[in-house]
Amino acid sequence: MRHARILFDGRELDITIDGQDRITTSEGEQLDVSLDSDQITWLPPVKEPGTIFALGINYADHATELAFEPPKEPLVFIKHANTLTGHKQVSYRPDNIDYQHYECELVAVIGKSGKNIKREDALDYVAGYTVCNDFAIRDYLENYYRPNLRVKSRDSLLPMGPWIVDTADIPDANALKLTTTVNGKLTQDGSTKDMIFDVPFIIEYLSKIMTLNPGDMICTGTPHGIVDCQPGDTIVCSIEDVCSLETRMVSEQEYYGDNY
């Protein structure tokens, strides 16, 4: 089963989507609308977002691409809900920068509180999986708590969704094809099998430090194949059996409007 949050017909709805793509609301109402309809506005799929953990250089080939040694322990940074946006929404490119790239990532959504969780029990704490695009602006990188908040905590730069797939429906989260297209052209073609630290490892690691809570999210990093994105570009991040996340890039001025 898949779970999402949408705006439809003026209402904010928690929905489930079955194997035949039929939509049912949490009230039990069936919606007569197809998943690709423009009548649906997709919201970020986690209803009460908690702490968002993201991993840097968690694929060996991406580490090489960035001229880093693969890490000996996870490189984790934190993000908050201001960065979230949904499927088919916009993300912005700041003015006067040279290099902003997408990062297609598998996301594990925590469903149960826990501390000191063992690897072998870790998936009991995962409600499901979704896809995110953890955009980065390389111009803003500084070597202080890198990747710093100016790079990774900007509004709208973590599209997520469109839905969460139940953990039970993904028998092996480390055997999924992961691709990104920009304006229809394939730019990233990898597999979650190349992750350095997998979801159970990361859960064991983080939960030795702190309590994980429902609504926390773990974005697991991206493989090789990043390219610069410009306003007007349409970026689609896809992970096999999970979902495809579409994002349109806009300028800073278009995004902030009157606040620009």
């Binding site: 908690g50 702490t51 490189l75 984790v76 940074f77 934190i78 908050h80 809900a81 201001n82 960065t83 501390k115 000191n116 803003y140 500084e142 070597n143 202080y144 708590y145 890198r146 990747p147 710093n148 908040l149 100016r150 905590s153 900007r154 509004d155 983080l206 030795k208 430090i209 702190m210 309590t211 994980l212 809570n213 902030y256 606040n259 620009y260």
Partner: protein, 222 residues
């Protein structure tokens, strides 16, 4: 995640905002891995599992083998509580967005490196007490003129005049509001004395700012 926390949705801390500390570390910051001193505020989050309250016990941290860690430290900061949505504001108008002021304690492992996000050191459960209350913004005419003191077992260990901050409260609100839209109830801990104060299991710690209050906590593990 404590029920009565005063924090709504986000607690942002500013590191390396003590002029004296920055000057002392200048040589280090010109070398690897930093290569050059920071050009922007150095920020980190205390996530929701860290949020705690006045009077509460701070858990003594355990290492990865489950043993009590050898040392922990504490810093204290003025907490600036946003009063309304704050998006891309100038330093001149920034203080109009402040709803109130409070104190933030940041208990952590000793700060050994600023190169990577310090999840192991800073994200420990219960290590960010906030309180004792939120004092309305109009009670504080100039936040940059305040002094933060920190005492352990009744003895003053640190005194930090906010006039010694590299960036003022207004400048920080402005800079951060160009990174992210801030929401009412979100808190910025604007600056800590560069020298964090060592603490031991069972210690009573008090952070004070005249006119804002005294935040009292006890280290667990004793």
């Amino acid at each position: 995640m404590t029920k009565k926390t005063l924090v709504n949705s986000k607690l942002i801390c500013v590191a390396l905002n003590d002029k004296k500390q920055l000057a002392a570390l200048e040589g280090t910051f010109n070398e690897a891995p930093y290569k050059k001193p920071p050009t922007q505020p150095v920020l980190y989050y205390k996530p929701r599992n860290t949020w705690n309250t006045d009077g509460a016990t701070i858990e003594w941290a355990k290492d990865f083998s489950g043993q009590a860690v050898e040392s922990m430290v504490v810093g204290a900061s003025l907490g600036v509580v946003l009063g309304k949505e704050t998006c891309r504001v100038s330093p001149e108008e920034a203080l109009q967005y402040v709803g109130g002021y409070t104190l933030v304690g940041d208990f952590s492992l000793p700060e050994e490196s600023y190169y990577r996000p310090d999840i192991k050191g800073k994200c420990l459960d219960t290590t960010a007490p906030v309180g004792p209350e939120i004092v309305p913004a109009d009670k504080i005419s100039n936040p940059d003129a305040l002094t933060v003191t920190l005492s352990v077992k009744g003895e003053e260990k640190s005194r930090f005049d906010l006039s010694q901050m590299e960036r003022s409260v207004a400048e920080l609100i402005s800079k951060i509001s160009y990174i992210m839209t801030l929401q009412p109830g979100e808190i910025i801990a604007v600056g800590f004395a560069g020298d964090r104060v060592p603490v031991a299991q069972g210690d009573q710690v008090e952070a004070s700012i005249e006119g804002v209050g005294t935040l009292k906590n006890t280290l667990g593990g004793a």
